[in-house]
């Protein structure tokens, strides 16, 4: 099974209401970043958390965000970044034009 996103792809974190055990932090919801790499495939923690099998495995990506894009009053270099490991089902292609 091929992964949906390639390194360099611009993605946006889904901003949907979700319950249960989630590993997509609130501070990243709705934010756009760039796929730095595919980390691999892992069983879904949202299912494992309730005794589920977590299958099928989901693609996990390291996504890199510009800190200035995450925090309106970020004080630091324009090049500062934040990486997070996010599951494919929390990511969509980012269609918006980069400012």
């Amino acid at each position: 099974m091929t992964a949906r996103f390639r390194p360099g792809a611009r993605v946006r974190v889904r901003d949907r209401h979700a319950q249960g055990h989630l590993r997509t932090p609130v501070y990243l919801r709705g934010k756009a970043g760039v796929v730095e790499r595919l980390c691999g495939r892992f069983r879904n923690p949202e299912s494992l958390a309730y005794g589920g099998s977590g299958l099928p495995e989901r693609a996990l990506y390291r996504v890199r965000f510009s800190q200035r894009a995450l925090w309106p009053d970020y004080r630091g270099s324009a090049d500062d970044t934040l990486d997070a490991d996010l599951y494919e089902h929390w990511l969509d292609p980012d269609e918006t034009r980069r400012r």
Binding site: R23, G76, S77, D80, D83
Partner: protein, 204 residues
Amino acid sequence: MTHAHPARADDDRPPTDYELLETAVRELLIEKGIVTADEIRAAIEAMDARSPAEGARVVARAWLDADYRRRLLADGRAAVGELGIDIGPTRLVVVENTARVHNVIVCTLCSCYPRMLLGLPPDWYKSRAYRARVVAEPRAVLAEFGTVIADDVTVRVHDSTADMRYLVLPRRPEGSEGMREAALAALVTRDAMIGVSVPKAPAA
């Protein structure tokens, strides 16, 4: 065998409700044959044996051996395994500090930490204040630790949100040329491998 965190005596005051709960759960699990007292003892000893000295060895080797460094950055688990450090199924990602980039690690959602290489985490790493602030204002947090990163160096925060565990490979200190592995390892602190600090300078 050194103990990074020697256990302080629990018997100088009455047990707390949670200590009672732990005792109850442990005794019941032993009685039901689910765990044994020996296994618990062995697990404690195994964790006590893990300390930042493990991570420091890895860093020192990477500083001395460019091929090892490449292997470490490519596959952390395999590379630390070469030094006899077994981190089990943990996926280890080593991120390298350079003249242009400074890395720092956090787990905002709980407190994931490369404990197989550093031992148990310090309280501050698990604290609300660290987890809340290092993603939003890493330079201010680093400054609280006495670490000032120049404006022309990129600060990169890694939030361990999934199964990967991160370790910072700090920069080799100036003036450490000619030092041997054990002496280099002694310069590498736990905080430098988390990224809130940098290694010690060699003695003059």
